[in-house]
Amino acid sequence: MAAAGQGGRSGGGGGSSGAGGGSSCGTGSGRSGLLDKWKIDDKPVKIDKWDGSAVKNSLDDSAKKVLLEKYKYVENFGLIDGRLTICTISCFFAIVALIWDYMHPFPESKPVLALCVISYPLFILSMFVCFPLNLIRTYFVMMGILTIYTSYKEKSIFLVAHRKDPTGMDPDDIWQLSSSLKRFDDKYTLKLTFISGRTKQQREAEFTRSIAKFFDHSGTLVMDAYEPEISRLHDSLATERKIK
């Protein structure tokens, strides 16, 4: 009786009562204990409410979490992996340029040919004697490609997830989330796009709300206010599908 009363009284201290329960029942797990202490997936998200990019990131992450956990969609990493690969290749170019310049006095012909074959899968360029100039030009071209890639193809999409069709016959439906929050502005726009696997037609729904609706005065994201919005967005697209 006393324990239940105490649990009911500490409404704001939800985290502390959870930790108390965890320590009492988690006796055997010593090795994974450190990893559990590091990962804080269940802790409520608290950010600096005046930092625009932190606000946007936390809203994006929570929307992603809702879609993936509540509706059990599977995240498709293709877009993100593409961006990571281009970045990695650019860094690789820079490292090669650094090492090459360090070794510049040495004979140059063989390394030049080897580098040609390895480092230009994306372009069909040939290297000439003025190797350093070409490498640097290539680096800036890659940076240009990355900028174009992020601004046009991605369209600030931060989640691509698909729902496996239960019958297993039709191709998967794709859900895309994209968002925008202007600098020093408080209006956050979240857009959910549904691409049907079968008919390949695209439907979208979005909402624009002030971020003050989702955060409390200390900067904690209140999932109770945010999650219904996401669900409503999702259901509006899902029910249209059923009707048609």
Binding site: K37, W38, K39, I40, D41, K43, V45, K46, I47, S53, A54, N57, D61, F77, I80, D81, R83, L84, C87, T88, S90, C91, F93, A94, I95, A97, L98, D101, P132, L133, I136, Y139, F140, M143
Partner: protein
């Protein structure tokens, strides 16, 4: 255990996001490196931006001024120009003015330098037995300058701990902060 709030963002990241943070850091370093290498290629000099370390060129340049150099083959060195050169065996480049030139028919040059604020020419600074400088000692010729900004570089060289602290904090900031 310390609860550092600023690490909360990092703890919530999955593997891809962590890798992206590291890549972000790498991209910034690479961009700086590429800009420096690009400048080296464009100007033809191995050190296109130098800081004046001593007061030997006053009142033209003071300690802490930033100098922009070029070292193109087609620009000949003439008397009265300010050159940055390196003496064999020493690694610190010196910024002085050209005083005398001996030039051969084939374009080979020997020249003597002197700092504006010095009483004597630089023969005392040259290597033992060396009386003239040659083209190969030149790092570049001064083309433009920005006053006072180089003092930060001088401070960072005099107090290396300060430099490492600044770099460490910057790196940490980039790694933890998302975009």
């Amino acid at each position: 255990m310390l609860s550092l709030d600023f690490l909360d963002d990092v703890r919530r990241m999955n593997k891809r996001q962590l890798y992206y943070q590291v890549l972000n850091f790498g991209m910034i370093v690479s961009s700086a490196l590429m800009i420096w290498k690009g400048l080296m290629v464009v100007t033809g000099s191995e050190s296109p931006i130098v800081v004046v370390l001593s007061g030997s060129m006053e009142p033209a340049f003071h300690r802490g001024d930033l100098l922009f150099l070029t070292n193109r083959v087609e620009d000949p060195i003439r008397v009265g120009e300010i050159v940055v050169f390196r003496i064999e065996g020493r690694e610190i480049p010196i910024v002085h003015r050209v005083l005398k030139i001996h030039e051969k028919q084939n374009g080979h040059i020997k020249f003597l330098t002197k700092g504006d604020n010095n009483a004597v020419d630089d023969r005392g600074l040259y290597k033992q037995g060396q009386h003239w400088l040659e083209k190969k000692d030149v790092v570049g010729r001064a083309r433009g300058f920005v006053p006072y900004i180089g003092i930060v570089t001088i401070l960072m060289n005099d107090y290396p701990k300060f430099k490492y602290a600044v770099l460490f904090l910057l790196g940490l900031f980039v790694l933890v902060h998302r975009e």
